[in-house]
């Protein structure tokens, strides 16, 4: 995975609450056995009509948001299924950061595995960034994971919390499996002990 570096990009507003994983990537696109190429189908049913034509009103179809890298969203973004196809589609489209008051648990974890930073902020901060996002390409937003800040065009910095381990992995583009395998001795020891204590497992 690539290292997550400070960047400035366009933020797209999606104020709807409870945007679920079926909206992000409808199930017809889950039949792939690959991780790539899902960006074109991101938000498919909101983004295209049945004939495959773009729906002009949908935010990511508007000229000023077509290259958005940040989404500012309503509460509980990513609720629903565990499908990692949702962050795969977002990442493939070019989304690197999502801001909301809350995220569904599995989606939140899946983001970090795919180079996407989900940022949880209080309502008033989300509202501020939503206002910035409404201004489109004229209001670029800067995300700085290292210093845990996100800032709009007027220079005001908003701090955010992120788990230190997840931050470390994202900043350094680390592979979880490789890191865990370094702890093989601990896993082996656990298995030996568990085999004694709970042999039926």
């Amino acid at each position: 995975m690539e290292k997550y570096e400070k960047f400035t990009g366009i933020a797209a507003p999606m104020p709807l609450v409870n945007i679920d994983t079926d909206m992000i990537i409808p199930k017809v696109f889950l039949k792939t056995i690959k991780r790539s190429g899902l960006g074109v189908n991101l938000f498919d049913e909101m983004r295209y009509d049945r004939q495959g034509n773009e729906i002009p009103d949908f935010v990511l179809n508007k000229p000023q948001y077509r290259d958005a890298q940040i989404l500012v969203t309503g509460d509980n973004f990513g609720c629903g299924s565990s499908r990692e196809h949702a962050p795969w589609a977002l990442a493939d489209f070019g989304i690197k950061c999502i801001v909301s008051t809350s995220f569904a648990d599995i989606f939140y974890n899946n983001c970090f595995k795919n180079g996407i930073l989900p940022i949880v902020l209080p309502q008033e901060d989300v509202d501020k960034l939503m206002d910035d996002a409404e201004r489109g390409a004229n209001a670029q937003v800067t995300v700085d994971l290292e210093n845990q800040t996100i800032s709009g065009p007027d220079g005001g910095e908003i701090s955010f919390e992120v788990d230190s381990f997840k931050k470390h992995c994202l900043l350094n583009g680390l592979d979880d499996i490789g890191l865990t395998m370094e702890k093989k001795a601990s896993i082996d020891a656990f298995e030996a002990k568990a085999a004694q204590e709970r042999p039926w497992v």
Partner: protein, 468 residues
């Protein structure tokens, strides 16, 4: 020192490594695998030259894509992409040597029904699967939750998961349920109370008299939808009903090991002085049969209510409710019992077990479904199907006009050909009423199996208690 919750106890028994910042490697006792969220994980293993760390603790079964029509027996899956996914699981199961129930096996079914049925799911275990409804297994007092495909690969490679501990939430349902009220109504009523983000950051333990009174099937229904409440997992402390259900299943411990297991399982409850970060209490006798009216599982109301006005909500929910009413083709103030349906779906990991089919059949016995209505029953597993046939339930469904299908996820997520057409409206025993969930522009009302059966008879959403 405060006592421990059930979640604390299971967690503590599975920490293989804890880093200074509190990040833990949690050991996974059972890893369930299906065809949709696993191909990329197995591919990742191959590319890195890795193997499955514990194939004996890994159980695979195709369920999401498989056709449920009778012609699938001996046939091939017509949809090419679906076939490729199922073929990939066949191959991955064989290449990596994990336990496998192929489509042709009578034990095949929805992964969350097969696991408990075969005795893979046991109290006190950690269970994961690349599917959010893994929460189902919490009914056994197992810590069970859904994971993404990267985590599937991580568990395959290491049999562990990198985890931060969640907070503890207690959901207590006191007293007795009224007749006609079921586990599905409990779990929907709880989500109606907490909202779909109310459980975010928590593991829920369901307790109280109404929960203890439920069968194992009912408890699985309750825990199944913990995820719709936003929780990482739902749990119910094991008791005699749990042990009775587990005993004698193919992969349950036997003889001396059974005794040893029982000794530990009997310690799996929350201590009286345990700390809860959040407590919700509902009175069982106040829960009514419920239905959903909108496009989020939190859009729950008693069947006696009317469609709400978007203005009755606050914040972002006002716009969401407006959008939901437009999508659902409903008007504020309309009686829920006046909503006409054209499709009924009984099945899914929420309500595809034998008790669910019995409850629906009880309502349907000697009756016919409304003319022109499409109704299908999709048993949760081949064994549920066989048992229902043996009990005469299958005949009741067929006599009433239901299609009697083979096991799979089917119209719960409509990845196979079982889908709603544009504008069709379904009373469904599944778990999600999201836009497009059961088919493009399809409209879903979540209900219990008994309520689904009642709607099938009348052709509109119906309070099952008003039927003779």
């Amino acid at each position: 020192m405060a006592g421990k919750t059930l979640y604390d106890k299971i967690w503590d028994a599975h920490v293989a490594h804890e880093a200074e910042d509190g990040t833990c490697l949690l050991y996974i006792d059972r890893h369930l695998v299906h065809e949709v969220t696993s191909p990329q994980a197995f591919e990742g293993l191959r590319m890195a030259g890795r193997t499955v760390h514990a194939p004996d603790k890994t159980i695979a079964v195709p369920d999401h894509n498989v056709p449920t029509t009778l012609d699938r027996i001996g046939g091939v899956i017509e949809n090419e992409e679906s076939r490729i996914q199922v073929d990939a699981l066949d191959k991955n199961a064989k290449d990596f040597g994990v336990h496998y129930y192929p489509v042709s096996d009578v034990r095949q079914g929805i992964v969350h029904i097969v696991g408990p049925e075969q005795g893979w799911t046991l109290p006190g275990m950690t269970v994961v699967c690349g599917d959010s409804h893994t929460a189902t297994h919490g009914a056994f007092g197992a810590l069970a939750h859904g994971i993404g495909t990267s985590e599937v690969e991580h568990v395959l490679a290491t049999q562990t998961l990198i985890q931060q501990k969640s907070k503890n939430m207690k959901v207590e349902i006191t007293g007795k349920l009224k007749p006609g009220v079921t586990a599905k109504d409990i779990t929907l009523a709880v989500i109606g109370e907490t909202g779909t983000a109310g459980g975010t950051g928590y593991v829920i333990e369901y307790c109280g008299e109404a929960i203890r009174d439920l069968s194992m099937e009912g408890r699985m229904t309750v825990c199944n939808m913990a995820i719709e409440g936003g929780a990482r997992a739902g749990l119910i402390a094991p008791d005699e009903k749990t042990f009775e259900y587990v005993k004698g299943r193919p992969h349950a411990p036997k003889a001396a090991q059974w005794e040893a297991a029982m000794n530990w399982w009997k310690t799996l409850y929350s201590d009286d002085d345990a700390h809860w970060d959040k407590v919700i209490t509902l009175k069982g006798e106040e829960i009514e049969p419920v239905v959903t009216w909108g496009t989020s599982p939190e859009d729950v109301l008693p069947i006696s209510a009317v469609v709400p006005a978007p203005e009755s909500f606050s914040g972002g929910k006002v716009d969401a409710a407006k959008r939901a009413l437009e999508y659902m083709g409903l008007t504020a103030g309309q009686k829920l019992t006046d909503i006409e349906i054209d499709t009924v779906f009984i099945g899914s990991c929420t309500n595809g077990r034998i008790e669910d089919l019995r409850a629906a059949a009880e309502v349907l016995k000697g009756k016919k479904i409304k003319d022109g209505l499409r109704a299908m029953v999709v048993p949760g597993s081949g064994l549920v199907r066989a048992q229902a046939e043996e009990e005469g339930i299958a005949q009741i469904f067929q006599d009433a006009g239901f299609e009697w299908r083979l096991a799979g996820c089917s119209m719960c997520l409509a990845m196979n050909p079982d889908q709603l057409a544009e504008g069709e409206r379904c009373a469904s025993t599944s778990n999600r009423n999201f836009e497009g969930r059961q088919g493009y522009k399809g409209r879903t009302h979540l209900v219990s199996p008994a309520m689904a059966a009642a709607a099938a008879i009348t052709g509109h959403l119906t309070d099952v208690r008003t039927l003779n």
